[in-house]
Symmetry: C2
Subunit: 224 residues, 2 copies
């Protein structure tokens, strides 16, 4: 699991909790072992550097983030590691805006993929086939939608790595029988006014991601 400064903690903790209960070994990988601060105010300390990380992992996973995502999309060192590790990994996966980083590394060209609803269209700039589905599996690529989709993604991944019974056991452990008190989890349920407000508050962040996606699209020969 790649970690990075200004990532979203819940993007990491949803899937990692599922994987831990299924007794998978997890390493947090980054350039250095300097703790990476997250939106939750809780830093994550990498357990392995890029150079220490084996390339034939079962799962390469990238969480989403705030401005940290855009920084990764523009960072040759991060993209080179992902491109290399992603080539050999059994599954190449992400939650939320993590898919933008995978796409910027050229790993989603021609693959159906999802991301946070607000930035799904940017995937096309980098050659991915954008989907608004909550969890998207295309060959060995698996992506989850925004933040909380990490739970649906995590269970899907456990079922793929282990089996459905293990995934159902994890679900019962986590009492994952959701009952959202409101129905505003997607723009259709939230309505146009609230959606416009959220997009407005994300404006700066999403503009940065758009520029990074275009630059990556050019590097990858998708955009001219």
């Amino acid at each position: 699991m790649v970690v990075y400064p200004d990532m979203v903690m819940l993007d990491l903790v949803g899937p990692s909790t599922c994987l831990k209960i299924a007794q998978c070994d997890i390493e947090f990988v980054w350039k250095t072992k300097t703790p990476c601060m997250t939106d939750a105010g809780i830093p994550v300390t990498p357990t392995m550097t890029f150079s220490e990380c084996p390339r034939n992992v079962d799962v390469l996973f990238v969480p989403g983030g705030i401005i940290g995502t855009t920084a990764c999309m523009n960072d040759p060192e991060v993209l080179a590691f992902l491109a290399d590790c992603g080539q050999h990994a059994r599954y190449v996966t992400s939650v939320c805006t993590g898919s933008l980083v995978l796409a910027a590394a050229g790993l989603l060209k021609g693959y159906r993929s999802t991301s946070l609803w607000a930035v799904v269209p940017l995937l096309a700039d980098m050659g991915a086939i954008p989907s608004m589905d909550r969890v998207v599996v295309d060959r060995n690529r698996m992506s989850g939608g925004g933040v909380t989709a990490g739970l649906d993604f995590g269970l899907t991944l456990v079922a793929a790595l282990r089996d459905e019974e293990t995934a159902r056991r994890v679900q019962l452990f986590l009492q994952y029988a959701p009952e959202p008190p409101f129905h505003a989890g997607m723009p259709a349920g939230a309505g146009p006014e609230l959606t416009a407000k959220v997009l407005k508050s994300r404006e700066g962040m999403d503009a940065g991601a758009k520029l990074a996606a275009r630059a990556a699209g050019k590097r990858l020969g998708v955009l001219s």
Copy 2:
């Protein structure tokens, strides 16, 4: 938000992410400022000690945990802090087995409350009125069920502290429109075989919690 060694990270990060987006100030409170290791392999460093924590907080929150919960239920220093802070807090809240700790501190006597499905019955030993509902609000007590119920709980709490529009905005930010790939989040959906397996694997942990609940029930004059 109380933190403690051997707590469950997702119990904390679900609600705290909701509160952060709603621009609430959060402090992580414990006996000392020594980092507390969590199930996720990521430690949380307390930002405040019990003695530094103001008693008139808006929200007192206790996450659940593995054996850490039982340790808290048996720890006079933790229970004294909770009893004192809980007396003055606007909302006294928990997710997962956190409610067992609140109950052991005498804060749920006569209050409808929930917990992780496997330990809900233990609440009665400490004078609470057990409920299997996912989020339970009784006057100023608010509890969520197991682990992932922290999201439903978090949105309910944001609506109470701010307003429904803010909670819906948080929900859209987090794309909380869940689609569990299986239907095993509660014993009814998981079926008796899988439920028995999960209970079996929790046996030692739940036995410890049961002993602690009985001891607390005696201290509180609920059990004789």
